[in-house]
Amino acid sequence: MVPTDLRYTREHEWVRVEDGVATVGITAHAADQLGDIVFVELPAVGAAVAAGKTFGVVESVKAVSDLFAPVSGAVLETNGELGARPELANSDPYGEGWMLRISFSDAGELDALLDAAAYEALVAEG
């Protein structure tokens, strides 16, 4: 089951919007597929990210994967804990494993994202 209060990209990121701030991470499915996450590269605070474009990289022991921004905006905060404990993205992908907080303005961008049911269907397809 994926959290129902989030929106999802087809590239397996999630976004939670509260008071004009979008919090972004990767889904449990993505974390599981990657395996042991050992490195997360995130943009600097203040950097602009654009919906559908890469904003960083997550690396497991085996592989390197791009991270895609679900929505556009300026980076307000990144999860510094992931520097020392990248495995948080495996153990608590929707909580302590969060990656970015973005100032968020274009509510229309959310409509382009998947809801929980649609994302679950995507994962089930494989």
Partner: protein, 371 residues
């Protein structure tokens, strides 16, 4: 990343067991293989601290027999198989006439006139063809038993305890790079004290149809000692920490054994003329164009296969393998660099995407087990 079976892909006799054990299966060198079960880091640590069980049935087993078997192999390979005592093994390579590596191999002398050559799965057909060509006209028979021979390996400090419960082979008397025939779990087997992890361990060659019984018995004997099944993912991180080359990464047709730091494998002093001799003799006498080094990343990032290595502003080489070392807790890599940058302690940069990340040249291996 898909878990779907691919058309025309071979399965080892243990494929169903891997799936039942929760493995994620991938296509590797034409085989459906487990890349991980519980997770690469957990499996890696199990092998370093306890033991791990590997299915290596995809590897190639080529038997070479006959009155001229040793002589033929001495001419076909860069090492000197007839110098082996019966029951001993050596690391070897088969090279092209230009000295480039076609594959790295382990050669076992099983009898006075019988040898077993073990090749990488990705190269078995090429090696088999090259050997057939090089052995032609000699009193020797080449028998490719790759699809009749399964290979199960147990690696790690608990290996002796696990295997000794199951075999009549005297493991205490079996030295590193030695092999003996016997039984494992009641099945006829060749038991070799070899591996690709940097740990003590054994490789058990058995008949294809009996591999399941042997795997089950080894896993059952291993469980109480903390052994787990280990996939190709951890196999790669284990061998990288141990500084062992992987064909396709550190070794290929454009690389000669001297550049890879493996010149000792090339026996220029042997009597036989061998394929690649002239080129390798020349390579041995010249300064190498590049050298294989170990790198420990000191900055933030992981050096991966294919990433450029720089000395100041100047390109100096390329990363061949890299990962986050589970044992050392830092990113490690192997890379070819120009010889003047190959001294341990030299600070270089690795181009990791748009950034330059500092890395220090270190002596290989990264990890050496305590004996």
């Amino acid at each position: 990343m898909t878990d779907e079976p691919v058309e025309g892909v071979r399965e080892t006799p243990l494929a169903e067991r891997h799936v039942a054990l929760g493995a994620r299966m991938i296509e590797f060198a034409g085989w459906l293989m487990p890349v991980q079960y519980a997770g690469i880091v957990d499996e890696h640590r199990a092998v370093r601290e306890r033991a791990g069980l590997f299915d290596l049935s995809h590897m190639g087993e080529l038997y070479v027999e006959g009155p001229q078997a040793g002589e033929a192999l001495a001419r076909a390979l860069v090492s000197d198989p007839p110098s082996l005592q019966v029951g001993r093994a050596q690391y070897s390579m088969i090279c092209a006439p230009d000295g480039g590596v076609i594959d790295d191999l382990i050669v076992y002398r099983l009898g006075v006139e019988q040898y077993l050559v073990v090749a990488n799965a990705s190269n078995t057909a090429v090696v088999s063809d090259a050997l057939a060509e090089r052995l032609e006209g000699m009193r020797v028979v080449l028998d490719d038993r790759s699809l009749d021979t399964a290979l199960v390996s147990v690696q790690g400090p608990e290996s002796v305890a696990i295997l000794s419960d199951l075999t009549d082979v005297d493991l205490g008397a079996l030295r590193y790079y030695a092999a003996a025939e016997g039984t494992v779990a009641g099945v006829s087997a060749l038991v070799a004290r070899t591996g690709y992890t940097g740990e003590d361990g054994f490789e058990v060659f058995v008949e294809w149809e009996r591999a399941g019984e042997v795997w089950d018995a080894m896993l059952e004997a291993g469980r109480p000692r903390g052994a787990v099944p280990v996939g190709l993912g951890a196999r790669d991180t284990l061998r990288l920490e141990a500084g062992m080359p992987l064909y396709g990464n550190e070794l290929d047709r454009t690389t000669n054994p001297f550049e890879a730091g493996l010149g000792r494998v090339v026996r220029l002093d042997k009597g036989a003329d061998f394929v690649g001799r002239a080129a390798l003799q020349k390579a041995a006498g010249e300064p190498a164009r590049r050298k294989l080094v170990g790198l420990v990343v000191r900055g933030r990032g992981i050096a991966r296969h294919g990433y450029p290595v720089l000395s100041g502003e100047a390109p100096t080489g390329t990363v061949t393998s890299g990962t986050a070392s589970p044992t050392l807790g830092v990113p490690i890599a192997m890379a070819y660099v120009t010889p003047r940058d190959a001294e341990p302690g030299t600070m270089l940069d690795v181009a990791v995407r748009e950034q330059r990340v500092a890395a220090e040249v270190v002596a290989l291996p990264f990890y050496r087990r305590k004996r």
